[in-house]
Each structure stands twice: as C-alpha cells, then as structure tokens.
Amino acid sequence: MGTAIERFDEKARRTFDSIGRTEVYKGELLRHPVYTRVLHWMVALFFFLALFSGFGIYLPWLFRWFTPVFGGGPLSRQMHPWFGVGFVFFFFLQVLNWLAPMAWTTADTKWMRGIGKIVGGKEKLDPPDTGFFNAGQKVQFWEIVGGCLAYLITGIILWAGARSFGATAVAISYVLHDLSALVMLGGIFIHIYLSTIGEPGTFQAMTRGAVSEAWAWTFHPAWYKKVTGRDPRQAYEKARQQQSGTAPKQS
C-alpha cells in the first residue's frame, strides 16, 4: 500500500511541477514543490470558508454578521458542509503527500522536552537532529488528522440530522464538532504566527516553495544536512564569522 501511495504522490508532484514552477535561487533550498503548495492553500481556503460559515451557526448572537457574507443563514447552512468536505478532501491528499516526513521519531520526543527553551527564545538554533518537520509541526499535523476524522463523522451526522441518526447522536456530535473546531482554531493562530512573523523567512516556503539556507540550518538542521551534505553547525559558524566582517580566519 505504501508504494501505491508513493506512486500516486510522485505522479501528482510531477504533474504539478510540469504546470507550475519553483525558482530556487543561489543560497536557497527547495522546500515544498508546487503540488504541496497548491494542496496547502486549498486546505487553508476551505478551512477558513468552513470556519467563517460555521461561526454564525456556532454562536449566532455574537457572530450572526458572518452569515450575510455567505448569502444568509440558509445558504450558510447549506454551504458549510460542502466547505467542510473540500477541507477534508484536500487535507486527505496532503496527508498522503506528507505521511513519510510526518512520522514521529525519537528526535521529536527530545525536541518536545526542550520546547520551553525554543518558545522562550533562549535557544536560537533548533537541535541538530531536527528534520524536515519539527515535533511541533508534527503535533499540529496529527491534530488536524484527528480533527478531520472527528469533523467527518460528526459532520455527516449533523448534516443528515436526527431524521437519519436519531436525536442523541446529533446532540453528541454537536458538542464534538465544536470541540474539534475549537482545538483546531487555537492551533491555527499559532501556525499562522509561526509561519509568518513568528519565524521570518518561513512564509516563502509555502509561496515560492524555496527557503534560504540560513533558515534551513537554523530551524531544520538535520534536513539541511540531508539535502546539502554539509554540517549545519559548521555552516552557521562560517556565516557568523563572515558576517562579523572581521573574520579572523578564512576557512
């Protein structure tokens, strides 16, 4: 099965690469191919459509001003499940695409133990064994996988309603659907922050698809080593010495 998924992903990446383009300039590394980027933004688009069309139904007395945006209450209610289906569909493709790099490793467990230093800004460089994705990103990814499953099951129950599934199933799904949305929403704030102003240089990974080498050796040293063959800490030291202008010795 693993190979079937890999073959599917390979083909999709090739197809998208033949349509789109990814420019990788000097001093940069390829981070995400066209296929990944398209999937990511389709996921994000449908996520926000579902989120905003859901707000008016979630807390009408606070968020009912969202419903006119989607053509009124009845249309919001009709569109919301379809936005959700779009979100789950594209995220499902993304899961296939990212299954391999999202696998949990012992390095991730270690990374999680040191999360305080990273969040607190004490540690400017990620641990040397941090790979393509760090443990925080993996947690977010798997949280969304779980969230999508919860959405799908409870969403279908709410969609078809008490007529098909009974009043109790709807009442329970109602709560679980909300919980899933709340957890995901809380996580998305952190995600957007880190991929924009929180860790400058990250956003372009999902737009142009390329990141600077400095970004790579800072945040994903093991991945840097894998793609360049160079040691991330040495590369960093070299850049630091060059930068301070009065580089004591040329290496």
Binding site: R64, G73, Q78, V119, V170, F189
Partner: protein, 301 residues
C-alpha cells in the same frame, strides 16, 4: 382574552439582547387540555388542522391500526395515536392520544436553534416557528423531547403545530378544539385547564376506580401548554411518545450557553498568546542575524 391581542414575544432563538416588547402587556398563559379518557378517536381534529392550515393533501399510511400515519409530518401536525395496552389481568385497553407540539415552557427546540428569530416563544406560552428565519439545520429536531419538528426537504425548513397562534392572536380557539365533538379537547388559560384537568382526574379516581389517573404536565421542562388527563399518569410511555421526564439534551443547555462562549474565548487565547509572544519574546530569525541588528540592540546577543 380580549378580542384583539398581539402576541408578545418572550424568547427568541439565537438572539442577542432582550426580546422586543416583552412584558409590555399583561398576558396569561394559554393551554390546550386533552382528556384521553373521553377521546373517541374520530380524527376530526386532524382534519380541522389540515383544513385551517391549508396543508396540501398527503397520502395516508395504513399499517393495520386506526392511525392515519405512523408519525406526524411537516404537513400533518396533529395525529391521533392509537395504542393497545395489555393490563395485568390480560384485558386490553385501547388508548387514543392526540399527538402534537406540547408548547413547552422551556422549549428544547428553541434552545437548540441557532437561527435568529426562527423559533419564538410568546408570553402566552405558544412556541412558534418562523420559517422565513429558519436555516434548515434541524437542530430543533434533536432538541425536542417529544419528536415533533418535521423537516420539509423541498423548502428545507422545519414545521410543526403552531397552537393556531394566528387564531389565538385573534381571540379564537385553535382549530382542533373547535372541531372536537366530545369535548375531550378544551382550551383556555393554563390555570383554568389545570383546574379542570385535576377535577377530571379526581372524578376518574373517585367515581371510576382509576386510582392512577392523573394529569400530564411534565415539570422537568417547566410544564407544557398542552396537558393531558391520562388513565394512568404513572406510565405516560404507554400512550406512545410521552416521556415520563422529558429533558433537553445537555448539548443545548450547559454546552451551548456556557461552554461555547467560554471555550470560544479560550481558542482566542491562541491569538492573544502569539501576540504576547511576539511583543515579549520576539520572533525567531534565521541565524546568524544581520549585524546591523546586533549593533542597534547595543549588545551582541
């Protein structure tokens, strides 16, 4: 009841702020009394309901009972349910109960409804659906302890008995009441109907030997504006679809009114958290950072 009376709104689904006009006029609660001991199952009330509400004709379903159809429909709000109950001595008791919206004092449909003004409760106790505000989510169906709201897939709206709010607003009795030939249906103020119902229950006990006769007005949802006199009030379930202690699911009470806003605020803490992180700790930049920064900061790290 005065001749002309506007219906005053007491509660509105999904609404922020107060209900307009609440408490402007004195009003008393209305009530429909159904005496199951004198119902003869003639179904005049069914016809009157369909007629008055101008409902399209729908085919009936025969399933070897006298019942017109198994359940109420979006265009059939008033159904006599026929149930056979076997007594302990082996004899059969044939029960007829007029099934319709109970117009709860604490309506589960209204609690569940997320659409502003789709469900309103008037101060006289009538719970009414305003289809023009209904978004068709059907949450009311799962909020109702009596399985009453019915979805119309064509209009994608939900319908149910209005207690003839249009007639009551004009000082008339509901259509079903007007049609009832035996007087088993009565309409008036809640206090009066409760009084009559209790008197009737007392009569059944004292004169007819029905020791367990009583009135169904379930207090678990604050009482209803349709009350029944039952031969055996200790076992309302035997009449089909009358729960002994009807309740509104937890999802539409504690969860909806307390946890939703509270946890929603918690989710927003995600935004507050990252904002505070940005101002207090600052972003993590690719290393090494440009030298100008270090100079401007005054110290190198």
């Amino acid at each position: 009841m005065s001749d002309r009376k506007t219906l005053q709104t007491e509660k509105i689904s999904g609404h922020s702020g107060a209900s307009p006009g609440f408490g402007m006029q004195r009003d008393f609660e209305v009530c429909k009394l159904v005496d199951t001991t004198t119902c003869i199952g003639c179904k005049a009330c069914e016809v009157a309901c369909v007629e008055w509400n101008d409902m399209p004709f729908g085919a009936t379903t025969f399933d070897n009972t006298y019942q017109t159809m198994p359940e109420t429909r979006w265009n059939f709000w008033n159904l006599i349910k026929f149930n056979e109950h076997q007594r302990e001595d082996g004899t059969i008791q044939w029960l007829m109960r007029k099934d319709q919206c109970m117009h709860c004092a604490d309506p589960g449909c209204l609690a569940a409804c997320p659409a502003d003004g789709a469900i309103v409760k008037y101060t006289n106790g009538i719970v009414d659906f305003n289809q023009e505000n209904c978004i068709g989510c059907e949450f009311c169906v799962s909020g109702c302890p009596f399985n009453i709201p019915r979805f119309n897939p064509g209009t994608k709206k939900v319908y149910k008995c209005t207690l003839c709010s249009d007639r009551v607003g004009q000082g008339l009795e509901p259509a079903c009441i007007k049609a009832c030939p035996t007087g088993c249906l009565k309409f008036g103020s809640k206090d009066d109907m409760k009084f009559i119902a209790n008197e009737r229950a007392r009569q059944l006990k004292e004169n007819f030997g029905m020791e367990k006769a009583g009135v169904y007005d379930p207090q678990s949802i604050g009482g209803t504006h349709v009350i029944y006199v039952l031969h055996d009030a200790t076992d309302p379930e035997r009449y089909g679809g009358l729960p002994k202690n009807p309740t509104i699911p937890w999802s539409y009470t504690v969860w909806k009114w307390l946890f939703k806003p509270v946890l929603g605020t918690f989710a927003l803490f995600g935004a507050v958290g990252v904002l505070l992180h940005y101002v207090a700790v600052g972003p993590r930049r690719p290393q090494p950072e440009p030298p100008e920064k270090e100079a401007a900061n005054g110290n190198g790290d």
